[in-house]
């Protein structure tokens, strides 16, 4: 079953065609990697899916519903959560509150209930705190729940962003370079974390430059260059695709 469909997506910045007529599907319960050299337009594709950018052309469907150009917060509520390439935590809020922010869209207490702390509001708040502590536990940060987001180490901040995204009960999790800035040990932990997220029934779409990680976790790959799709299919085939190899050559052949 397809969870996400991207059809003929085009995004233009001024004169620059950042994404050019890109189409792909993400099947439910899969891990799909979006790869390509720097500036290929990967993050722009993500921003179109999450509603941060409105594409010039194309349709994005999630669970059969057209979500093109919908407000980002509504897309999150539909079940698409994301992390950012340049970490965007709330630096002066605690780790727990960062995760609670992700939980926000699933809470219902209205404004009066919040002001008066009605019993229902208290119950909901208590359950939300428990749930968010579980998410922190899940990514291995529960001991740091009271630390400020901005005070965490870089790798921990990436994990916290994942916990925040998971707290919104996503069906599709979009990770933009989750291993960026992580050391080898942290990256190994991330591989394991991604498979545990998969086991929870969350579908994952990720951008990653670290090909070892990509080959370990992704079943399917989509390769972009200069905004255009150059290959897609199962991971092994795309990796050995001559166009993909040329696109990457000279950029960073170390990682191959």
């Amino acid at each position: 079953m397809t969870l996400l469909t991207v059809k003929d997506l085009t995004k233009i910045f001024g004169g620059l065609i950042a994404v050019n007529d890109v189409s792909f599907d993400v099947a439910k319960d899969s891990v799909v990697g979006l790869i390509g050299p720097n500036g290929a337009g990967k993050t722009t594709v993500f921003n179109c899916i999450t509603g941060n950018y409105r594409p010039e052309q194309g349709v994005i469907e999630f669970k059969g519903a057209d979500i093109t150009g919908m407000a980002p917060n509504r897309i999150v509520k539909m079940g698409v959560a994301r992390t950012f390439q340049s970490i965007r935590l709330f630096p002066r809020m605690s780790a727990l509150e960062n995760v609670l922010a992700g939980r926000h869209c699933r809470l219902k207490s209205g404004f009066l209930a919040c002001m008066l702390h009605t019993p229902a509001q208290r119950r909901e708040e208590k359950a939300a705190i428990e749930r968010c502590m579980d998410e922190l536990e899940f990514v291995g940060l529960s001991h740091l729940y009271a630390d400020m987001g901005g005070a965490l180490a870089y790798g921990q901040q990436r994990l916290l962003e994942i916990a925040r995204a998971l707290a919104s009960d996503p069906e599709l999790l979009i990770l933009d370079e989750p291993a960026g800035g992580m050391n080898d040990q942290e990256t190994a932990g991330l591989v394991e974390l991604i498979s545990r997220i998969r086991e929870r029934g969350v579908t994952i779409l990720l951008i990653e430059h670290d090909m070892r990680l990509v080959m370990k976790v992704c079943q399917k790959l989509i390769a972009l260059e200069h905004g255009a799709l150059i290959a897609q299919g199962d991971a092994e085939t795309v990796r050995n695709n001559p166009d993909v190899i040329t696109a990457y050559l000279g950029v960073d052949d170390e990682k191959w």
Binding site: V76, F90, M93, E97, L100, I129, L136, A165
Partner: protein
Amino acid sequence: MKRRVFSIVLAGVICVLPLFCNPYWTDVCVSVGLFALLSLSLNVMLGQAGIFNMGHAAFFAVGAYAAAILNTVCQWPIFLTMIPAGIAAGVFALAVARPIIHLRGDYLLVVTIGIVEIVRIALINDVFGLTGGANGIFNISRPSLFGVKIYKGWQFYYLVWGVTAVSMLLFYGLWRSRFGRALNCIKEDDIAAEGCGINVVGYKLAAFSLGAFWAGMAGAIYASKMVTIAPESFNFSESVLLFAAVILSGGSQLGVLCSVFLFFGLPEVLREFSDARMLIFGLAMMAMMIWRPQGLLPPLPRRYRVAAAAGDGKK
């Protein structure tokens, strides 16, 4: 801990203050109380959500005029006009904020300055034939509570500070909830807030209208205390002072109270030094900016009761 002791002492002082004040000083304290109410309501949008509103006096004015008109034209008792005055201010705020709320801080600030001026000029020009033009509205009646007419300084003092205290409790509740957290997230990083599912525009509008609602209620109390209101009481400089007081407070309610005393109480104390007082005031502001750029008392982190079992977790 230190803060708790300080708040209790401050609350105690506020409770007994009128016993030691002559009518003049009681009156000053009533004004300080009204400014406290206004600053606390501005704190919801400016301090919590980072919405740069430099036009808070506009909503204060809308509330005061709504109460005055309901009272003088429709003969409503002042206490009954408080909620409609708040609603009038809140709805007005919602209407003007809707098209501009997405603006970045500094742009929004300029537009809100415009709003105060528009309101003031509209009032002077007697736009609806109801506002009495430059002279304003006279003979607003005093409030009465359980048959007791409130007109003495100390009565107003306890009315204003009582309303302020209740407001602080309600705002505290808001701060300690998903609503307060959402506002803080928006202040920290609105793109991240939107990206993790918070309806940024919705919450900004809610904070804006809520703050305006409270300013409108403060306006109703003000109208009944002054008996006469005129456009000149709601000018730009008031808005700037409120803005500065909230920025300097650091964002906690205790901080807001302190900075309100500094901004609106201290100038009265320094009145004897007439010419020098603005100088002292200015120097104090500069000193603050150098040594306490985070503001007087930033809010302490919220505490959460977390299951002890969470323990160390995995490393």
